[in-house]
């Protein structure tokens, strides 16, 4: 049941991205282009999503278990550190360069031709590089300990 729900949620999420225009990189860059012809649409997308989210997460925060009986897996990290900011800055630079963030890139794969495929392949490679770096750092720490 959880797996069926995940499929439906991914589908609705993806259709929301398409309806909102966020699968169009030029439109996303139009939002990020404050100095040019600015398209504020993305702020409305986030605003609409957060309006619903505020209610949902308020309810979710009070629950011990999910409606399907799972343990609630809400983030516990609260630290604001260099990783968070540097990671955000690197992501934002890539986002601005291409106009794709992870969701819209995946929701464009099946219909968008070569460009979203190349972006997504590079994104997966980036995630793999991150894993390798993390593991080598962990291994080095274990050796020096």
């Amino acid at each position: 049941m959880q797996i069926v729900m995940a499929l439906i949620v991914g589908l609705v999420f993806g259709i929301g991205l398409i309806v909102s225009g966020m699968t169009n990189p030029a439109k996303v860059q139009g939002f990020l282009d404050l100095a040019g012809n600015w398209d504020p649409s993305l702020a409305f997308v986030m605003g609409g999503a957060i309006l619903v989210g505020l209610v949902a997460f308020r309810v979710a925060g009070k629950r011990e278990r999910s409606l399907l009986g799972d343990v609630m897996r809400l983030p516990t990290a609260t630290q604001i550190d260099r990783r968070l900011v540097l990671g955000g800055l690197a992501f934002g630079a890539g986002w601005g360069l291409a106009g794709y963030c992870p969701g819209p890139a995946l929701a464009s794969l099946a219909v968008g031709g070569a460009k979203p495929l190349i972006f997504a392949a590079a994104m997966l490679a980036g995630m793999a590089i991150f894993e390798l770096l993390e593991r080598s750092v962990a291994a080095a720490k274990a050796r020096s300990a």
């Binding site: 169009n24 990189p25 979710a60 219909v111």
Partner: protein
């Protein structure tokens, strides 16, 4: 700054945003999880028993979304200005950055801000700032 009235779409933006919010709401209420795309995808690089199928199902839903949409209405036009080299560089930055910063526009931007998490607010401010600066450089300095 001038508003791009030609391309500004507040209503479909809000409508799509509400759909995204409903999806994130259903995921946290039914599955007890955050609908953060980079985390769901990146988690596949650390495969654990019982932790793979739901990730694959979610991502499959996302990937088939345009095919389902196209059954009902023609897909909206898209334009990708970036060339191949730029797309590779951008993809690497997005892949490494979202994992290092533990989230992207969905996990920090939508879900984190909905949770009123100060950590997600800092992350969102960081990637927005870098996005604004990058597009400024690409379009107005080197463009």
């Amino acid at each position: 700054m001038a508003i791009d009235w030609m391309n500004f779409t507040p209503w479909t933006g809000l409508a799509g945003g509400v759909m995204i919010g409903l999806a994130a709401a259903a995921f946290v209420l039914f599955n007890g999880r955050i609908a953060g795309i980079s985390g769901i995808l990146g988690g596949l690089f650390r495969p654990a028993r019982g932790d793979i199928a739901w990730r694959v199902a979610f991502l499959l839903g996302l990937v088939v979304a345009p095919l389902v949409y196209a059954l009902v209405a023609p897909l909206p036009e898209t334009r990708i200005d970036a060339g191949m080299t730029t797309l590779v560089a951008a993809g690497l930055l997005v892949g490494i950055g979202t994992r290092y910063g533990a989230g992207c526009t969905s996990g920090h931007g939508v879900c984190g801000l909905s949770r009123r998490s100060p950590r997600s607010l800092v992350a969102t401010a960081s990637f927005m700032l870098a996005g604004f600066v990058t597009v400024f450089l690409v379009r107005h300095v080197f463009g």
